[in-house]
Assembly symmetry: C2
Homo-oligomer: 373 residues x 2
């Protein structure tokens, strides 16, 4: 049950759009083609715009706007309400015929139609990539949908990805995303056996679950949002096992609280780790590295190095490779850190993100060299 | 340079949409919110529809349609032409503010906005999944764009996926898709050393290139479209090496021609293979297994088994897991094949498809059992 918005467009010689006679012909051709699928459709309104012309057609339930842009483009938007189980007014195959037929009749240089955009349905299937691209997911069920003190928490089911955690409309992790966790921890490259580890965030439990398989001495996980853990414990067991259910054993402990206050506590106590994982919010996509979020990222990293052993590593996720500006800004921040650090990075295609993601491994600079002088 | 269509929607109590007074208030609120970004916007037209009401606003260059659906939904479409380098009329951040502000003022139960849909630009970034979902790719360049005798061939560059072959608007293979080829051939499971292999299609060269690394005795590849091979040889070397450039050596030969006539020739000659790969067009998504495409698929498979040794295997790709009906239909076709066959299947998430894909391995039924009787 949703409104369907069907978008079509055609590129034409601008001269034909500028000319009133040819414009009338084009409207006539469009109307004739549409009548096949929308019988009784009539022109209800038209107007000149500063960059062309607009014409509206309607059969009283479907609204069609045809817009002429002097730059050489015609856009057609078809919108109507589609009840559950009701066939679309123009099927996928018919949309192809409509597009191809009109392309030929209009002598268009190029044409395009998109699958219907579904609006207002109970299950929201549109999520956005790191660089603000729209992606329609094959989400068919919402399993969990609540707002915690900190964020909007949803667990949805995708046919391709399994259950998926969505926080504040951002895809976070899905059952298909083992590669995310394995790349974040650099499985097979880093040696975790016998090590002391601190996870900042990580409420989905996947990183903790995978790290424990490597036999570390102890992992402490600092997660602020109890509700995320409850939701993941219920719906994401294939990626987090029973770590969120049990909350602690001899080799790990989950602490519900603000990671900054615990980091400060550890700094005061002189507690030291071999690895600190930054598994918090994504680094922001803004033009300048200012604002609360960047301050928070800087603070987190500086505090993390205060609890890291001299050869300890800070491991974190960055952003999509399609956001080079954001990645560069993060790297500039790393270069300004105290103590001086070096970093390596690697990438992996993360299924639920639908993009190639960058992960960072940050270390104090030349600790061995300094020691050997 | 493209027309931008910005889509927003709000779910409201249907009673408020039915009521004329409250409808006028809502239009007023929408107009006030829009004026901030579109100064001078005026109501130019309105009409009652069978399922609600439509109101159009314009500042002479931007057209806004606000539609009320009695089912409890308001859709807002904002459309204007955006020149290259021109800032969007409503930025990403402002869209969030507009949506959140209106959601609160309208007391909406839910709301949503999508990134602007870009229409008529030189680089088409929208492709469709197997189940007709829209996916916006991070395509930034078109490297090759020609129509051959058989299909429209494009090679585009994606920031996440590298160069990508697109045939008739369908994503075919990208540089990031080694997993596709490795799953199709079941690397590490099947043993190709010393084997005789026939590839039907496979014009991108990736399967041939990967198979040759396994030291088969000989591979013959039957591809009909010379232009696809030329394009891939020029732009997809990271996945096909020099196999398309060289065309043959002691261990392989590429034949440009219709695979059916060559299969018939091999049947006549009694030539036999250990493996036949079906790397042709995707299996169709239609409701019934009829039509030319299904006939072709049946014919290809039956002919393939005529050139396969008794224990030979037919290896092919199926469809997305989000198309269970299509997969089921393909499996029904397999069950009807002569000779009787059995099949196994496996899946992999293919980056350029942005979905989990199913691959089939088909063999004659119980050949060993039959022989031992």
């Amino acid at each position: 049950m949703s409104a369907n918005t069907v978008l079509l467009d055609f590129s034409l010689d601008p001269a034909r759009i500028n000319d009133e006679v040819s414009r009338k012909d084009i409207v006539k051709l469009c109307k004739e083609s549409l009548e096949k699928y929308l019988p009784g459709v009539k022109i209800t309104y038209d107007m000149l715009t500063t960059d062309g012309y607009l014409c509206m057609l309607s059969d009283a339930a479907t609204i069609v706007t045809i817009r002429f842009f002097l730059q050489g483009l015609i856009t057609i938007n078809i919108e109507y309400y589609r009840q559950d189980g009701e066939e679309p007014k123009i099927s996928f195959e018919n949309m192809k015929s409509l597009e191809n037929g009109l392309r030929i009749r209009l002598e268009a240089k190029r044409s395009k139609h998109l699958p219907p955009i579904k609006r207002g349905s109970n299950v929201d299937v549109y999520l956005t990539s790191s660089d603000e691209r729209v992606i329609e997911y094959d989400i068919d069920r919402v399993l969990f949908d609540k707002r915690s003190e900190f964020q909007k928490i949803q667990i949805v089911h995708s046919k391709s990805l399994g259950n998926m955690l969505v926080l504040d409309e951002l895809q976070n992790i899905a059952e298909a995303d083992l590669i995310y966790t394995e790349t974040l921890m650099r499985r097979g490259v880093e040696e975790y056996a016998g090590k002391e580890i601190c996870i900042l965030g990580g409420g989905d439990g996947a990183l903790l679950y995978e790290l424990l398989k490597e036999k570390p001495k102890h992992v402490v996980m600092l997660e602020i949002d109890e509700m995320v853990m409850q939701a993941c414990n219920k719906y994401m067991n294939s990626i987090c096992g029973d770590v969120l259910e049990k909350r602690k054993d001899d080799h790990y402990e989950i602490i519900v609280g603000d990671c900054m206050s615990y980091l400060n506590k550890y700094i005061k106590e002189g507690r030291q780790f071999d690895y600190v994982f930054g598994d918090l919010t994504d680094i922001p996509i803004s033009d300048t590295p200012t604002g609360e979020m960047w301050d928070f990222i800087r603070l987190i990293q500086e505090s993390s190095f205060k609890v890291l052993k001299p050869d300890g590593k800070f491991m974190t996720h960055g952003n999509g490779v399609s956001c080079p500006e954001s990645l560069e800004m993060y790297e500039q921040q790393l270069n300004k850190l105290t103590p001086k650090v070096t970093y390596t990075k690697c990438t992996a295609f993360v299924p639920s993100f639908m993009e190639e993601w960058v992960f960072y491994q940050v270390q104090r600079q030349n600790t061995d060299d300094a020691a050997s002088v």
